[in-house]
């Protein structure tokens, strides 16, 4: 049996999730040059927001067709509130501070958010079941389930909407202007504080979409789910060219496929039999990143902002 189509599908699905989370990193970075390391935890709180809607707000037995949009809404509200709150109360006061200060804040925020969920969300000290969309479909040699279809649809729709928003809307263009030159943008009457808040909010929304897709796909969520996903998404954002929203999605997909293929096939290469399998997959993913950066230091699609290192 040829497993390649299935493995490519696995990689594409994983990568779409990375891409959705990476949008948050890349938008914030593009505008304030801040690596929001707590973004993975914003993704995590989005999942718990959605879980709350399903278990504590909706009546038992609500059909998934109705529940999923409401869960998206609940997750998005929580994630956006936390993202915007973090910006307002943790990052904004540090805007004039040394470059590394926000990084430490992000580490602290990350720990605090994880611990708040673990301590105060009922049953969150271990994995909590999440409703799934588990009906499977066989398309040729590829098996996918409803949750996978949801993920792909959500990723495509969200990307299209974001592209339209950034290109066409007034706020979107203000955003581009701020990313290119904040001083001039401000002089032109753009409220840059508002733009930054919006960037955080969009990141939070995309994280919540990814979180709901994650829950539907894997069937459970836990308070540590954001850490590794956040790290991978950040990698994806850099791989694609940080600051570039298309780059974030492309970086995510490339990273997801690379990881999956490495995990699946590296051990079949003669002489590499011991260096394959899932436990080495991250190593190959990072090697790919380093290689790409060596030959294309601005990432796959290039940065959108002027290099101001």
């Amino acid at each position: 049996m040829n497993t390649l189509p299935q493995q490519l599908a696995n990689g594409l699905l994983l990568g779409s999730m990375y891409g959705l989370i990476a949008i948050g990193y890349t938008m914030v970075y593009g505008i304030v040059q801040l690596i929001n390391f707590a973004h993975g935890e914003i993704f995590m709180t989005g999942a718990f927001g959605a879980l709350t809607v399903y278990f504590y707000i909706l009546p038992d037995g609500t059909s998934m067709a109705l529940a999923v949009p409401l869960m998206l809404l609940g997750g998005a509200i929580v994630a956006i509130l936390i993202a915007v709150g973090a910006e307002r109360f943790a990052y904004r006061p540090l805007r004039g501070a040394p470059r590394l200060a926000p990084l430490i804040t992000a580490i602290g925020l990350s720990l605090a958010l994880q611990e708040v969920v673990r301590n105060f969300y009922p049953g969150a000290d271990r994995a909590r079941a999440f409703p799934g969309l588990d009906t499977t479909h066989d398309i040729g040699s590829v098996t996918i389930k409803d949750a996978d279809i949801f993920l792909i649809l959500a990723a495509v729709l969200c990307m299209a909407a974001l592209a339209l928003f950034v290109r066409r809307s007034r706020t979107g263009r203000a955003m581009q202007a701020t990313a290119q030159d904040p001083d001039t943008a401000q002089l032109m009457g753009i409220d840059t504080n508002r733009i930054i808040v919006i960037a955080f909010a969009i990141g939070g929304f995309f994280a919540a979409v990814a979180a709901v897709a994650y829950g539907l796909k894997y069937g459970n969520v836990d308070y540590r789910m954001g850490f590794l996903m956040g790290l991978k998404a950040f990698t994806a954002a850099v791989l694609g060219g940080i600051g570039n929203i298309y780059g974030a999605m492309l970086g995510g997909v490339v990273l997801g496929i690379a990881e999956t293929l490495a995990s699946a096939y590296i051990d079949e290469i003669p002489g590499m039999s011991q260096l394959g399998g899932q436990s080495w997959a991250n190593v190959w993913a990072f090697c790919l990143l380093i290689l790409v950066l060596l030959f294309r230091p601005q990432g796959l699609l290039g940065e959108r902002v002027a290099d101001r290192a």
């Binding site: 006061p93 040394p98 430490i104 580490i107 990350s110 958010l113 994880q114 904040p182 230091p297 101001r308």
Partner: protein
Amino acid sequence: MTETTKPPAPDAVPTPPALRGLIPLPAAAARALLLAGGIATAASAFLAWTWTAEFPGDLTINGYPGGLQWLTFTAGVLTALFALASYGIRGLGWLLPARNNAPLVLTALGGFAVTWFTVIAISAELGGVVNLEPGGWIAAIASLLPLLGAFALPQEKTGTDGTKAALKAYIAKPDRIPAPQATSGWVQRAVITAVTIIGLGVFTYGIDTEYGELFVGYLFVVTFAMWALHTAGLLDRFSQLIAANRSFTLAMGFAAAIAFPFTQTDDHYANIGVNILIFGTVALGLNIVVGLAGLLDLGYVAFLGVGAYTAALVSGSEFSTISGVHLPFWASALAGAAASLVFGVLIGAPTLRLRGDYLAIVTLGFGEIFRIAVNNMDGDSGPDVTNGPNGIANIPDLNLLGFNFGQAHDIGGFTLGRFANYYLLMVLIMAIVVLVYTRAADSRIGRSWIAIREDETAATAMGINGFRVKLVAFALGAALAGLAGTVSAHVTYSVVPTPYQFAGSTPPNSAFLLAAVVLGGMGTVAGPLLGAALLYLLPEKLVFLQDKSLLAFGIALILLMRFRPEGIIANRRRQLEFHETGQLDVPKQTTLTDEPAVTKAGA
């Protein structure tokens, strides 16, 4: 940093009669209240505060303070001392050179904070205020008195702006501190010696605190006392003393570090000490990379790991894959440092051409690659090198010139346990690292690093080979971490992959190392050491919060950065930059705020 937000004062010590305090009281009454309150606070420590010894420290005995009561006592005495100094008592004038209110307010606040914290902790832990004896109530009231007195002192600016501005004025450092009288060299040295001894005592007390409540109280008192000394201008005076007697201070510092294990009877505290030193040494190495050269390294702990694994492999442990090889310590230390150096160059050479945050992600990737690789190299899912997750265990103790580090030794009546031995070895290594750091920082290459950090383009234009000096910084930092790693392998008897991760809940990991550098103060020697000590002790002492300890720690990180973003010990140069807009180190984002670019920190 608050002082910079104030416009320059017209002149020092103007005392127009219109001045009044926040709380309407005659000045004399306010001062008397302050003094009496300080004494009362100190005295209240001698009463029984609660009825049961359930609360740690046994605060049930009249006439003999215990645990947190000693901290209240200390704060009360400090308040009283400053109050006396404000009366102009001869001999105490040096405590308050600028005759400002801030030290009085802050010491009073310290006493208030520690006393109320204790009283609240008693009520919370034992379930209700009924657990307070009258003494507890008296202490709570007594510690409130000096605070009232302090805020009744006449102060400029009250009544003009809002209450917030008035409160700020109370704790502001004056713009000008009268210059101290010239003192002779031996007096200066005596003062430095005395301060070192007090410092060692205070630090030792902090490490030895047996329960978390005591440590929190200790942090209150120390923070407010240091803040008070800072606003009194005494810290500035002391820095001048240090600047004038550099090598003497350094020697005293190391003497104090060496003295630490001799003050301990329990090897546990030496164990904490050696872990802090290892963590601090690595943080200092990272400071070269981050603080001096301005390269953001998110995978630095891997170099510690390379050193530790190298030392373990040549230690003669039966679990080592090259068992039978048993190098003496000097050779394995060099091997560990050299291996780290090689890895540093290997990683740095291709990636240091990248700018800014791209380097961050590459180093993060390298850190993860290292951890995953050592976890897999067990002959099953990789080459047989590191024993994978089992690690290399049973690493024998060091034996230097017949001195076995694994055994307790009696030296001049003091017993030095196993960890005290390693502690002293780490002090030596720390001395080497500090030496390398200071020599490098003051040298030609150190200035190149700073130039690169400030503006790479300009530095390159001036003829600095940016790539080469960055590579030197990277390799040097790596080698120092590797050196610390060789000792850590012997201290813990084994090396396993788990500690060498990007972020975790306990040091060392790359995120904590970076936090130690930034928290303590980038580009300084003492900063990362202090940051490391704080980051090591906080999680260790917060265990009384049980499963909320990590939460508290996370919040503490956020708050520390919020109020002191340039670190506890700020580099002079950095502090200046931080408070001037338009400088290159302050990124362009500053213009995005509507508020003035200076932070509201300290508010």
